[in-house]
Amino acid sequence: MGRYVLRRLLQLIPVFLGTTFLIYALVWAIPQDPFAGKCGQRPCDPAYIAEMSQKLNLNDPLVVQYFKYLGNLVVGDFGTTFNGISVGEQIATSWPITLKMGIIALIIEAVIGIIAGVLTGLRKSGFLDNLVLVSTLFLISLPVFVTGFVLRLYLGPQGFDLMDTSVSSDPSFGELILPGFVLGSLSMAYVARLTRSSIVENRRSDYVRTAIAKGQPQSRVVGIHLLRNSLIPVITFLGTDLGSLLGGAIVTEGVFNINGIGGLIFRGIQEKEGVMVTGIVTLLVLVYLLMSLLVDLLYAVLDPRIRYE
């Protein structure tokens, strides 16, 4: 196992370098003046251009620029935007919000998805089964911004006034429940369907029959023997999904006006803040790579038949 982890971690290095270089190149190698429109209506002051070019190493060849940037990253320096705002600080403010919302979304999709999947998997083709199948299909076909706007409108003060749908700049867990639900809704539908088909597949298996023949109570037959096996694919799906949830959600954050990573990266792209975009994307690549490694390791823990050598 130790050797496998080491090998995987070493594999991360070329993947990390490849993806980040690509992003860096895409952001800085565009044939356009990076200072266009940065100083209002007037062209920028040559002194300012000289200073910033020096700071961003814009006069060096691209590869040299990239490695200089990487060197700064390694010591924790994400650089500053054209206005001199620290990118590191911006990320530090937005990241906890995205993290909170991602965890809420994960909990919601896991709990509701798994419960719905188990109930329908055990009782195929009943009313509940049809209800879940139709509603998940509904969620899967709806774009997230529609789900988001509809829920925000109807649950909020302009609709049935059931809850306060506005989100403050430093939101609490409570405020993020609705956005988290919207963010997790699509995956929730997938989790429900994945769990359902996994339960249906396993409930007729020999080891379930053995557990029944042993006279184990129904709760243990389902809750221990059946569920433990059926949840293996579901948990790996949830792990990969957490990786993408932590990458922020441009649409959901936009609908609810949340100051998360998604919003930050969106503004960065809009305002052509190269330092901001490369900084965040590099971080996201790292998070995603580590999450997928974690999922692979988790898989081996969940299924003892899988051994990594």
Partner: protein, 316 residues
């Protein structure tokens, strides 16, 4: 006992009746699809409804009819009164739990044993079924065991609650021949030690001859012959049993073509009228096609469902 399927109602079991006493081994012999395993699963109460429906009959255990008992009372009988082992131990054991866990689970949940006591007992049980280094292997997963060891582990698990009756559903079919013999010896030994009743479901005549006291031969969901093991091998009382015995390879008939039973067993949704064996029977005559044979009593507890049972047994 019938299965209601889209292709119609399959009368899986019909007029099956047998009994087993403590310390006795009854072999249930038959081809694939003859209803051997279904009988066992009906006794255990582990058939799914639907498609399985028990339309009538009784299953008496310790004098009580299991079919009239509550679901919970029946569950209590499973494992404690009647235990079952299955053909393929690799798929019958849960792949994600250790062998120890699966044995201890019975002791903890059903007997309320503490974790430490259950572990100790599990090691004892594995030791009893002759698993070498039981203490070290108790925390292994089923896939880390060899085929024979897995079957031994399943036997240990079935013995956890000291059942009075053990149903072994083709326990050696998935194993190598040498391992088969070891497992059968182990089963016979354990049965003797515990004075346990055993129902051995098999299609292997050799296994039957070795360990069984009595035999029920099944065909198309019915018991066609029932006899003491020596009597049956000496003189079969049903043409089907007769054909089965003739189809055994024999050393003294080397070089001759191996006899087989012509045709296939009938589909259970479409059992032929009269005697279900009539399309394949070498002794068929007109009555067989129209009339279902009654149970003929041949004395000494022997029965046969054949119109000419007396004649068949006499010729043997």
């Amino acid at each position: 006992m019938e299965f209601r399927t889209r292709d119609g109602v399959a009368k899986v079991l019909n007029g099956v009746s047998y009994h087993v006493s403590a310390g006795e081994t009854l072999a249930v012999l038959g081809e694939s699809g003859s209803g051997k395993s279904v009988t066992a699963q009906t006794i255990m109460g582990i058939l799914d409804t639907p498609p399985g429906f028990i339309t009538n009959g009784t299953i008496k255990f310790r004098g009580e009819d299991l079919l009239t008992q509550s679901a919970d009372a029946r569950r209590q009988v499973r494992g404690e009164g009647i235990a079952m082992i299955f053909q393929d131990a690799l798929s019958a054991l849960n792949p994600v739990f250790t062998v120890g866990f699966q044995i201890e689970e019975q002791l903890k949940v059903r007997r309320g044993m503490s974790k430490a006591d259950a572990r100790k007992r599990a090691v004892e049980l594995l030791d009893q079924v002759k698993i070498p280094n039981a203490k070290g292997r108790v925390s292994d997963y089923p896939h880390q065991f060899s085929g024979g060891m897995r079957q031994r582990a399943m036997i240990a698990m079935s013995l956890a609650l000291d059942p009075e009756l053990l149903i072994a559903d083709e326990p050696t079919t998935a194993l190598d021949v040498t391992v088969q013999a070891q497992i059968m010896d182990l089963l016979a030994e354990i049965q003797k030690e515990r004075d346990m009743g055993m129902i051995l479901i098999t299609h292997d005549l050799g296994v039957v001859a070795d360990v069984a006291d009595r035999i029920s031969v099944m065909y198309a969901g019915r018991i066609v012959e029932h006899a003491d093991v020596y009597e049956l091998f000496r003189a079969p009382g049903h043409p089907y049993t007769e054909s089965l015995l003739e189809s055994l390879p024999r050393v003294d008939l080397r070089g001759q073509e191996l006899k087989t039973i012509k045709g296939l067993p009938p589909s259970l949704t479409n059992i032929p009228p009269g005697c279900p064996f009539n399309p394949r029977c070498p002794r068929v005559f007109d009555r067989c096609v129209t009339e279902v044979p009654a149970v003929h009593n041949l004395g000494m507890g022997r029965t046969s469902r054949c119109h000419i049972a007396e004649e068949v047994v006499a010729r043997g």
